[in-house]
Each structure stands twice: as structure tokens, then as C-alpha cells.
């Protein structure tokens, strides 16, 4: 089995790009691959706990919690999160917060990288 690294700059609400990234992570994990997910820019919104589920909007906290419990690394960019008022105490349990060099190191050891930029 291989390792997939997914990077995403897109926001939780406002596009379906993060939904796609998370679904891809789930699918890869189900096939037995190692998965790292890097959230940067508006993508860090996904890191915040306490997301309320509305049918009009994406709510991915449950899926992310399951991905983390299943062994995936889900990590947010610290500077991007802090700039948005998302602090360590606001994060979904088990979700990491690191600087961008962590993402590059994850890319280094990945067999495939899927990077999804911002809108």
C-alpha cells in the first residue's frame, strides 16, 4: 500500500472542494493507504471543532474525527489558523497544527500528492 498526501487551500463553506478532498482521503484509507491531509489558507476552517450541521452547508467534523481515529494525519497550518482566530484549543481532537514544512516533508514521503489550491 502507498501513501497519499492531500493538500487543500479551499474553505469548508463556500465550495465543495474540501468535501472532495475529504472523500478522497476516506476512499484512499478504505483501500488501506496511508493518508496525510494538510489544511492551509481557508482550508483551516475544517480544523475547528463544534461545526453545526445544516443541510445547506458541508459539515465534515464527524468524518475528520473518524479519519483521525483510523490513523490518518490531519494537520492545519498554524499561521493560517491563528490568522483566522482558530487556536489550539479550538481544534477537533487529534487534529494537528504545524508549519508548512511539515506538508513538504509529507510530500517527500508520499507516493502521490494531490494539491488543491484556493478558489
Amino acid at each position: 500500500m502507498g501513501k497519499l498526501t492531500i493538500g487543500c487551500f479551499s474553505s469548508l463553506v463556500g465550495s465543495m472542494t474540501l468535501d472532495f478532498a475529504v472523500k478522497l482521503a476516506e476512499a484512499a484509507r478504505k483501500k488501506g493507504h496511508d493518508v496525510d491531509v494538510w489544511l492551509s489558507g481557508n482550508g483551516t476552517m475544517l480544523a475547528k471543532k463544534g461545526q453545526r450541521s445544516f443541510k445547506d452547508y458541508s459539515a465534515l467534523e464527524k468524518t475528520i474525527t473518524e479519519l483521525i481515529a483510523d490513523g490518518s494525519n490531519v494537520v492545519a497550518c498554524e499561521a493560517c489558523a491563528e490568522a483566522r482566530g482558530i487556536h489550539k484549543e479550538d481544534l477537533i481532537s487529534g487534529l494537528g497544527i504545524k508549519s508548512a514544512d511539515w506538508y513538504l516533508a509529507s510530500c517527500f514521503s508520499a507516493d502521490r500528492v494531490v494539491h488543491i489550491g484556493g478558489e
Binding site: 487551500f9 508549519s99 513538504l104 494539491h115 478558489e119
Partner: protein, 136 residues
Amino acid sequence: MIKKIAFVVDKMPYKSESSRLTLTHAIASQTVEIHLDDGDNVEPVLAFIGEGVLNCLKNQKASEVYGVTTLESHIKNALLTDIKLLICEEDVKKYGLTEDQIIMDAEDIGADITSELVPFSEIMSAMELADHIVYS
């Protein structure tokens, strides 16, 4: 082992955060070694194509207008940290720009290397040689 990562910018500056993030991620290659085994490293190449070449305009005023760092300062920091920087010459021409309007060096902050205005085919070659592509 060295792995090449191509960072490709095709988004306008300031309209979204995308080009800024791509630049900061490319510059983060300078500290990636702390996460890797001895002898391992990442070799970045940074390329500007399409609307992305507008990030490379000189004399940006975002600091004065918006109070944020300019993309110009990030591009100069990339040059300062010896990141190979390619700018698509066809797209520069498409926007009616000339080399003297583009950030070609960062001598003012002590960078040794310069930007390279290259045909798109050369950027494609750099992407083909890369182990991974970060396209934003």
C-alpha cells in the same frame, strides 16, 4: 535522497490567498530538513504562468494600501533563499509586460540568483522532472 517539488502559480495576486500560500509553501522548503532523515531534502522550483505572472510585477504597494506584505517581498525572499524561479515569457508578453517591469532579481536584499524568463515548454519540462507538483 532529493525530491523535486514544482510550485506552480497561475492565480492573480491579492484576488485570493492562493499565490501567497504557494510562495510561503515554496519558501518553507528551507526548513523541511528538520522533518527528514539526514541526507534527505526537498528541491523546490517555483513557476509563474498565466495570470500568475502578474504576481511578479515590480513596485507593488500592498503594504501601503492593505497593510499586508507584498507578493513582491515573498518573491524576493524566494530568490534570497536560492529557489529556482521561472516566469513564463509568453504570458508576460500576453499581458504587454516587459522584463524591466518584472522582478528579475533581489540584489537589494542580497540574493545571488535571478528570476528566469523562459518559454512555457521549459516550465513544462520542470514540472515533468518534479516528483510532485503543487499547483495553485
